[in-house]
Symmetry: C2
Subunit: 339 residues, 2 copies
């Protein structure tokens, strides 16, 4: 019943009547130039007949390359990382690299474990989208051994290629949109400060306020987890304390949804009473009621560029480059002029 042994190179060689090394060369992309066309054809035919496909893991022992790339992300359940994976997966697959994807849940132990697993598997490189500002030490050792690209989250002082988004600018876009619509009192719901992009968004927000010369008040709240429920809690408290504000900048769309929920529960309306700006432009955000004004980030391109950058390091040993992509404001129905 079981289809018997998996064929090896030797089986192909025997069937084609050549030496295994000749078979190997015939099947490899690089070396196949040095092989007679007829021999090569015979070998390919034999391989096809047996259903032979080379054992990549065995080959890696000899070549020193596993053709795997570690990919570390915070969370499968956030669709923004799905876009990143789509971008980089496509690019890696074109070069026959397979991503080994691990999620950290922004948990320190899981992050460490991820690096261990990637080390044990001898991945040829890593794309890391889950670094926190507190991870420098443990990353440094890894990075010394394995080519690494940071994607989406920076770790200042780590000298590796990076593909980043200008989150300071993103924070500016969000808050200046509100200011331009006449809002003078803004509540900001910040994600954890250990995550670089959240820190940058807050900086951008602050910069706008400062440029406005004290005419705008920014009330910032930091949550431990950037979730719907946490934002709901913060927003409810803010509303209960007396809504001296007319707008909200949430550091991601999930938190914006939490804010919307709290606003609704308090019997107020968005955007009539309170305007809300999110961040990330999650796929569903445009389908909410009201549809969410938010900051869109080029995640697919981030993934693609991160993969390109890593491959250029791996294949041509190119020097580290930092690419910075730009966010953009998407105006929808959750923001209106201040009342």
């Amino acid at each position: 019943m079981a289809s018997g042994r998996v064929p090896r190179l030797e089986d192909v060689a025997r069937l084609a009547g050549v030496h295994p090394s000749t078979a190997s060369r015939s099947l490899s992309q690089e070396q196949s130039g040095r092989i007679g066309a007829k021999t090569r054809e015979r070998v390919l035919a034999a391989a096809r007949e047996l259903g032979y496909t080379p054992d990549l893991t065995a080959a890696s022992l000899r070549t020193g390359r596993t053709m795997t790339i570690g990919v570390v992300i915070p969370d499968f359940s956030n669709p923004i990382w799905a876009s990143l994976l789509a971008g980089l997966g496509e690019t890696l697959q074109e070069r026959d690299y397979t991503p080994v994807i691990i999620e950290t849940k922004d948990d320190r132990r899981r992050f460490d474990r991820a690096l261990e697993i990637l080390t044990d598997r001898r991945v040829d490189g890593m794309i890391n989208a889950a670094v926190r500002l507190t991870d420098k030490k443990r990353l440094t050792a890894f990075v010394a051994r394995t080519p690494t690209v940071l994607a989406g989250r920076d770790l200042p002082g780590l000298d590796v290629p990076k593909v980043l988004v200008d989150d300071v600018r993103g924070g500016e876009l969000a808050v200046s949109h509100l200011v331009q619509r006449g809002h003078r009192s803004i509540v900001q719901i910040c994600g954890p400060g250990s995550v670089g992009p959240f820190k940058s968004r807050a900086e951008g927000a602050q910069a706008v306020v400062e440029r406005s010369g004290d005419s705008v008040a920014l009330h910032s709240h930091v949550v431990d987890q950037p979730t719907v429920d946490e934002a709901d809690r913060v927003m409810s408290a803010a509303l209960a304390a007396g809504p001296a504000f007319t707008s909200v900048f949430a550091h991601n769309d999930l938190m914006a949804i939490g804010a919307l929920q709290a606003i609704r529960r308090a019997g107020m309306r968005c955007p009539d009473d309170v305007s809300v700006v999110g961040y990330n432009d999650n796929p569903l955000s445009q389908h909410l009621a009201p549809s969410l004004t938010t900051i869109s980030l080029p995640f697919v391109q981030t993934g693609r560029t991160a993969a390109d950058t890593l491959l250029s390091k791996l294949l041509h040993n190119d020097p580290p480059v930092v690419t910075t992509l730009q966010p953009s404001l998407i105006v929808r129905d959750s923001t209106a002029a201040a009342r």
Copy 2:
């Protein structure tokens, strides 16, 4: 600068003053019983000092096991698969297996490519949550070589362990909920029939209607892609044709969102004018306005059980088992009594 060579077993052995194979045994879980406590301690110390960690891919050549499990899912961007991945990832990691995750986008070529990649990598097993009813042929060959578990989607006639959800029951739950609330005209938005669970949901819906003895009308529309936009399109058309219906059963939450959107745009209200039931209980569905009545599926448990089932095959060669988990109805605000 670069931390030099990656240490090998030989380096550890030399530092500990033992033979490499002794070092190997000391580091392995299984064999370490047959080693003197002191020797073992010396080896572990040496390994720690050098930062040694075994090359899993080299070891696999000898052991014949790669300690990798292929995981095939339709789509990273759908959070239900994230839950599946969470469940199975946890379980696999406990046994030192690493998942190699590939998405198919429910595209035939990508599905084939996924199987090729997993074959080349010599994964020890596969958990496949992306089979379509049309995939039997190409799966059969793979399954003969590699232990496989089907998760969430069945392929009748394929004799492998399966962890399924009773989607017929799910369809029944959804539609009988509507019937009990007095709805006698229901629009059903069906996902592609090549995907087993969609077919089953439609069967369940039909069964309820038949049991009602022709007192309920079910108008079914099949879409190519189970997306927000497709459902919006179908729903808009249905509304334009004259809303002789009072309720909608969408085969997943995304399509329910599309339906809600179309209803809103047509100037009608949910649940006042039209009730809507979704399927899957996406994380965001409870935060929509109105919050979505839907069918909840145990995805985390599906993942966990699939991993357990596969491991029991791998480790104890247990015979194929089919586990069927039950869906449950979550009543929220998108459904009300028929007007």
